[in-house]
């Protein structure tokens, strides 16, 4: 009897001990979206963090990209958001991000590794805060179905080919092979502006305020409308939905229906995994326009959220994830262009990548150095999504014949002004 009682008391004590340890553990929530396998990699990295830091548990909430853009901002505005989130609208959500500096082991290392990208995450006027780190740097650019070119017996345009050169070649290839999409550009403002800036669009006036519609912009808009009329671009992307809805052609590219697909570096992982031996694909440098051959930079950052009740723990997680070793592992396993300057300088060893994926990463890596200053300025502009959305929505209407291009120009200017005014109402 005494033995049973002793065992019970011991069990109770142990149980209480475990319960106390559990109650001392801080649970953090991280909202995350994935284009490829980065969610799996992050889950793996967090497990490793938890084993080294048993007092912190991180719950990874994987959500669609749409939820990051539409649901998360409402959550954050109501103060009910997660402790950390992976976001792409860096400027738009900057006001909800925390400054990690007081809690970081070495803020100077963060500045050195992520400095140029930190300004994308800051509210206007803030020049010092460290809200998070880049989980990936992206650059827009084209993927080409090389097999279709070979099948058509047409040579691929060279390194400094123009947008028109590629459009002409893609149309000829599609005509010979029966591919339904000669040139597919994601229905995204971000993608459109790589074309527009190459055509000479300046986007901002001398004071740094938006002046979206200029001659370069008009040249690009005219090209997109003409390409839809002539069948270079199918209306299934830009003409099939309304408003600022995103529509990509990654599925169509994977099904060998697209000759040239203008998207970005984040597609490499999924193409590497899904295309396999079905056909040969390559990434090529961004086509040139009269002004330059730029792509558009972008990316996603993992940031701490201001409303968190555990800022110190959030900083510990981010300190761990942003370290060279761990960030490098994420970039290498997810096939991302590194958003860490030290790692970019050293180069990433993409062990898991196939030969075409490695070649594509090299092309996109090289494109970073060729980015036009206007492209960088637009990416860093807080209200850039207002511009992107207005452009996509209004050009979409022109492509379907609802409005003329001149009407679209007027509407774009008006939409941008109205939305910025609305944002500034206090």
């Amino acid at each position: 009897m005494k033995a049973i009682a002793r065992t019970l008391v011991l069990g109770l004590a142990l149980g209480l001990g475990v319960a106390q340890a559990a109650s001392a553990q801080t649970t953090l929530r991280m909202t995350w979206y994935s284009d490829g396998n980065e969610g799996e990699v992050m889950a793996d990295l967090l497990k490793r963090f938890e084993s080294k830091n048993p007092d912190i548990k991180v719950v990874l909430d994987e959500v669609p990209f749409k939820a990051i853009n539409e649901t998360l901002p409402v959550q954050l505005a109501s103060g009910q958001g997660p402790d950390m989130a992976r976001v792409a609208d860096l400027g738009g959500l900057a006001r909800y991000m925390m400054d990690l500096r007081p809690y970081l082991k070495n803020a100077a290392t963060w500045e050195a590794n992520y400095g140029p990208f930190l300004k994308w995450m800051r509210v206007p006027g803030d020049t010092a805060s460290i809200p998070g780190y880049m989980t990936q740097l992206t650059v827009t650019g084209p993927f080409v179905n090389k097999s279709l070119f070979e099948q058509a017996g047409i040579a691929m345009p060279g390194a400094n080919a123009t947008w028109q050169d590629w459009a002409t070649a893609a149309k000829s290839v599609a005509a010979k092979t029966g591919a339904p999409f000669p040139l597919a550009i994601d229905r995204s403002g971000h993608r459109f502006f790589s074309l527009a800036i190459a055509q000479g669009a300046k986007v901002f006036d001398a004071a740094g305020e938006p002046a979206v519609v200029d001659d370069g912009f008009k040249r690009a808009a005219q090209l997109v409308v003409d390409w839809h009329k002539s069948g270079v671009m199918s209306k299934e992307l830009w003409g099939s939905v309304s408003g600022a809805a995103y529509r990509g052609a990654n599925e169509e590219f994977k099904n060998a229906q697209v000759v040239m697909y203008v998207s970005g570096s984040w597609q490499i992982g999924q193409f590497d995994k899904t295309v396999g031996d079905a056909f040969d694909w390559v990434a090529v440098p961004s086509p040139c326009g009269p002004a330059n051959c730029t792509g558009m930079p972008g990316g996603a950052a993992l940031v701490g959220i201001k409303a968190t009740k555990h800022p110190a723990e959030v900083a510990r997680v981010l300190d761990y994830l942003a370290s060279e070793e761990i960030a490098g592992e994420l970039y290498a396993r997810a096939l991302f262009v590194p958003g860490n300057l030290a790692l970019a300088a050293k180069g990433i060893d993409y062990k898991a990548a196939s030969a075409p994926a490695k070649a594509a990463l090299k092309v996109f890596g090289a494109a970073v150095a060729k980015l036009d200053p206007v492209a960088n300025q637009l990416q860093g502009y807080t209200n850039n999504r207002i511009i992107f959305n207005a452009v996509i929505s209004r050009l979409g209407q022109t492509i379907t014949g609802e409005t003329t291009l001149d009407e679209a120009y007027g509407r774009i200017t008006q939409d941008v002004a109205q939305q910025i005014a609305e944002r500034n109402k206090k």
Binding site: T71, A77, G239, S240, S242, G243, N383, N389, E422, R423
Partner: protein, 327 residues
């Protein structure tokens, strides 16, 4: 049938437990006030989940800015409504400042008109056929009602798979030697399928209402007509239709309300495109409030108040129609 004694005692236990406090309450406040005690829980529920959100929405519609909390939003008076209604001509959305709203209004009106006509017509024909003594009548009644049980999103996805470039319908067309039709890049096709899918999904419900009406028509009227050798069409026109009219009015008004509220099916099926050819008012409200970088809650709230007024009028019409039917 009586319940076994222990079970009976168990079921009446809550009543017996409540009996004493209720009697005490009745003594305290008086018998005439007791109905309000019973109404209070429901009124509180309605107040919290219906009237309070309406009040908050009204407040949002007279405020501006991106803040979420009502207390942080600056008052702008009727500014949002003025912005919505700033038009050169209400029948030309291009002349309106907020042209997307007016495109939504025009599309919703077009969708509702086509949908009501198709819904009422097809439901009536189906109800009449299902009311006849045909073989496997029960089976067909179930078949027509089945889509009503499906979620609108599921319905839209099924039809999207049928209608897309490499969908079932295009496979059938190409198998017969035709060319693929890209239904979602042609404004007329997109609206046609939006209406058809909506009718397919909800027709069963309206058919059921009309079927109930048909079954309530006394059989002796038809027997008398048969004895007089009245032609079938005249029987339908002079007996069936007038006696079914109260049900028809309910169906028309319900279909109208549904048409004005349409969102989920069309949003998933066409995304409001091509261009804004199938952009409906509710989608406009949703996108204005949530999809833009600046979430314009004020403008979206104003548009939803306008929509609310339209729906309120239609609901009054439905109530009036139901009362007339009851009388």
């Amino acid at each position: 049938m009586t319940l076994p004694a222990p079970l009976g005692a168990l079921t009446t236990l809550p009543l017996r437990l409540l009996d004493a406090p209720m009697r005490a309450l009745q003594r305290a406040i008086g018998e005439r006030r007791m109905p309000y005690v019973f109404l209070a829980p429901n009124a509180a529920f309605f107040g919290l989940f219906v009237f309070l959100p309406i009040a908050i929405n009204l407040w949002f519609s007279v405020t501006g800015g991106p803040a979420l909390f009502p207390s942080e939003r600056p008052y702008v008076g009727a500014g949002q409504y003025a912005y919505l209604f700033e038009c050169g001509s209400y029948i030309d959305p291009n002349s309106c400042r907020e042209d997307h709203f007016w495109r939504g209004v025009a599309n919703t009106a077009k969708f509702t008109a086509f949908q009501v006509v198709a819904m009422v017509g097809l439901s009536l024909v189906t109800a009449v056929v299902l009311n006849m003594k045909i073989r496997a009548r029960g089976f067909f009644r179930a078949v027509y009602f089945f889509p009503v049980l499906l979620s609108p999103v599921v319905v839209a996805l099924i039809w999207k798979w049928i209608l897309q470039r490499d969908g079932l319908l295009n496979a059938a067309i190409t198998a017969m030697g035709g060319d693929k039709i890209l239904f979602f890049i042609d404004p007329n096709w997109a609206m046609f399928w939006a209406v058809l899918v909506s009718v397919w999904a909800h027709m069963g419900f309206y058919t059921l209402i009309l079927l109930a009406g048909l079954q309530a028509i006394p059989a002796d009227l038809y027997e008398a007509a048969e004895m007089d050798a009245t032609p079938r069409f005249r029987v339908f026109r002079l007996i069936t239709l007038p006696l079914l009219w109260p049900n028809m009015v309910v169906v028309i008004v319900l279909a109208l309300i549904r048409g004005v509220q349409i969102f989920d099916e069309v949003y998933v099926l066409t995304g409001g495109g091509p261009g804004s050819a199938t952009l409906m008012v509710v989608q406009y409200i949703y996108e204005t409030a949530f999809s833009n970088q600046v979430q314009n809650f004020g403008l979206a709230a104003a548009a939803s108040c306008v929509l609310g007024v339209v729906l309120f009028c239609l609901t009054l019409a439905q109530l009036a129609a139901s009362r007339r039917k009851g009388a």
